[in-house]
Amino acid sequence: MTDSIRIVGLNKLFSSPDGGTVAAVKDVNLEIGAGKLVTLLGPSGCGKTTLLRMIAGFEEPSSGDIFFGKKRMNEEPPNTRDTAMVFQSYAVFPHLDVFENVAFGLRLRKLPKIEIEERVARVLEQTGLSGYARRSPNQLSGGQQQRVALARCIVMEPKVLLFDEPLSNLDAKLREQMRVEIRELQQRVGITSIYVTHDQVEAMSISDEIVVMNAGVVEQLGTPHEIYARPASRFVADFIGKANFVPVKTLSGDAVDINGVRIGVREMPDLEAGTSVTAVVRPEAIHLAGDKGDFRGTVRRVMFLGNIAEYLVEIEGLGNWLVDSPNPAEAGLFATGDTVFLTPSPSSIHLLR
């Protein structure tokens, strides 16, 4: 049966070449509910892979505890943890064909031949590999190898599924397709899953919850929507999507003062009026017009991206803002040097503490 995972005060120190130590993971506490898919998201070097490898048992925590259900796993070697991991490089066994790759773990469990064949066939079916059982891995495309790696994990019916940037070697289209397949498969088998990625779109699209990490520390834990709409820190706001950081002063009532203009906000943190804070204004939450608005600015750069046009607008006293304008018609595009007016939508301004 699948397990919940609890991580308590987990630290991982590596010795650095100069003789000191570097903390790859710092005092991480997490609860992951049974059957949930949770993403560890962060830039490279943030400790997400180290955390995953500690859960798999490939790295030993320097301090702290890892529990699967009620069982403490710290001393458990990787081969008896009953986790199954999809590796970034797939790590498909190159000397075994697809069937034998998938059967590898079952054979180690010494299951009856019939049962192995049935289970492998079923999983190959689920992952769309039925016709490829006797192919050698290097006769497969990247996406197919990825499916073999996935099938090899699912067939074990493990307590926990682990994904270490599984899609980063695939091209963009295939990545989107596999992301959907992984999510659907995970929901169907209902195994607790931890998914490491540095791609925020990937994280947003497949997760029940996202853990944003930076420099070994958990910056924020929340649903994709919470993390986007209410980032806990400047780092999170910047890493997830694009953001304009605007210095504001709080006013009484649910409003702030931006450069002398009063703008309403959705949620007011418990702050005294007149406090200086930073507001996060998402580029898509700003309306751009040629005639009137809250702020006046000059277009410095235009990039037409198809579904949106991305503008860089210089506002006197506020610096440069990114503004995304949806459904840009060719005639309606502003040009570099044009004077424009900007109106932030009050419901999407988020104040950082």
């Binding site: 081969n79 790590a91 066994f93 064909d97 773990g105 290097n138």
Partner: protein, 558 residues
Amino acid sequence: MSRSLSSELRQLARDPILLVLLAAIALSIVVFVVYPLIKVLVASVQIGGVWTLDGYAELAQRRLYRNALMNSLGVATLVGVISVAIGYLAAFVLTRLDVPGKTLLHYVTILPIVSPPFVSAVSILFLFGFNGLITRQLLGLNDFSIYGFHGVVLSQVFTFAPIAYLSLRGVLASLSPTLEDAALNIGATRWQTFWKVSLPLSLPGIASAFLIVFIESMADFGNPLVLAGAAFPMLAPQAYLEITGSFNLSRGATLAIVLLIPSLTAFAIQRYYLAKRQYITVTGKPTASTSKIVSQPVKWLLYGLVIFFALLVAAFYAVILVGAFTKVWGFNYTPTLDHFLYVFDVGLDSVKDTLVVAIVSTPVSGLLGMLIAFLVVRRSFPGRTALEFGSILSFAVPGTVVGIGYILAFNAPPLILTGTLTILVLCFVFRYMPVGIQSGIAVLRQIDPAIEEAAQNLGASGLTTFRKVTLPLIAPAFFSGLVYAFVRAMTAISAAIFLVSANWNLMTVQILNQVGSGRLGVAAAFSVVVIVIVLIAIGIISYLIGRWSRHTSMVRFK
């Protein structure tokens, strides 16, 4: 530091099999590699139970020993230079130029590697000896002597140029030809491209090949023993003569230490200085590697030189083959099977013994080599670097030194092994493991560790992972380790000559005895038998490995 040490120790405690394995391997390396060397060192500074440096002082005073040292160093240096020149030329032509017959030329060029150590020496005697085909019969020279400096150099170049070739082949093949294209593209002439790009890039490889040949030449025993002659003493045969001729163990040990020092120095430079300076520009993308830096006439000139060397190799072997079927070379060229009859009658025991020793030591050496390579690359434990160093150390130790060390170490309690099969097997296992270890390490470093982690993640224990995943993946290295171990066991002489006995005798020692008593025909017949066995064995090993890991050729490294 202490933190990582304690975490390494904790990991060891979690894996008792690993712990036991490591302890066993470390112990056996200490006993069979390090301990004999220490015995040699002790014997050289302890005469009649008294600690003294008199042995070295005496060596320095006596002209014979001074000459032996200078001769060995001189020969090794010259052989190194010539071999590297030939090796570089052959490697360049056969890896970078578009010429016909490359595969055939490759195999002919490396043929000397798989043959017993006396093939070239015996061929040279056939061709240039007192009754030599060229010197006596064709040129009618009566006062020409092949013995001495030129004879040894000629024979060693023939023996060791293929080693330089193989080593440089790897270097040249790993240099991206796009660098040359880039130089040509920005306006360099072909000469400038060669001198300023190609050559500097391969310089560390050239130096490394030189040092490898230098080590081999210093350690070489067979060629000097046959061709140096009394007037041209050299270290390795001199140490042997001191022990077997004058029963002077401590002087033999002292000479062995003198022989060991330049070899170890060259090894240290090669391994710890040059190895870090190799320019490897493999991109993972295969590129058309045909070099454009030689013009057509130059290309065919270089090709001609390589063909010439290959023909020379072929001629040496032809001479051996003909010699083996010739009644008395130089006097009576009637074809005969007498020499082979002798080999399979009087010499049959040594044929059997050699095969037994080779067949027992080869798999042990191959497997142990892969296991050590695996532990060194994939496991962290205290003393890992020391284990790696200890296990490849014997590559740099001349066989003569090892042989003396073994008789000093295992002729007295607690381990009395002299005169047994065991001592020969142990000697060969620990002497010829390093090549397997080195290639195992090289191949393993290219295999994504995630593949082994995946096996563990799916429930395989450490040993199962090694057996079911690692070993099949490093099959090419395993193959070269096995072949090398077998070839060396069939062709070894320098250490083995101290360890053979009435019960266990080897063909190479027989060849030496026959050469010593002037029966070159029998020596040639023995050599032919050794070569045939080696070629058959390579065929069998490659068949077995191929069957055992059918998908090896499909292995794609990250």
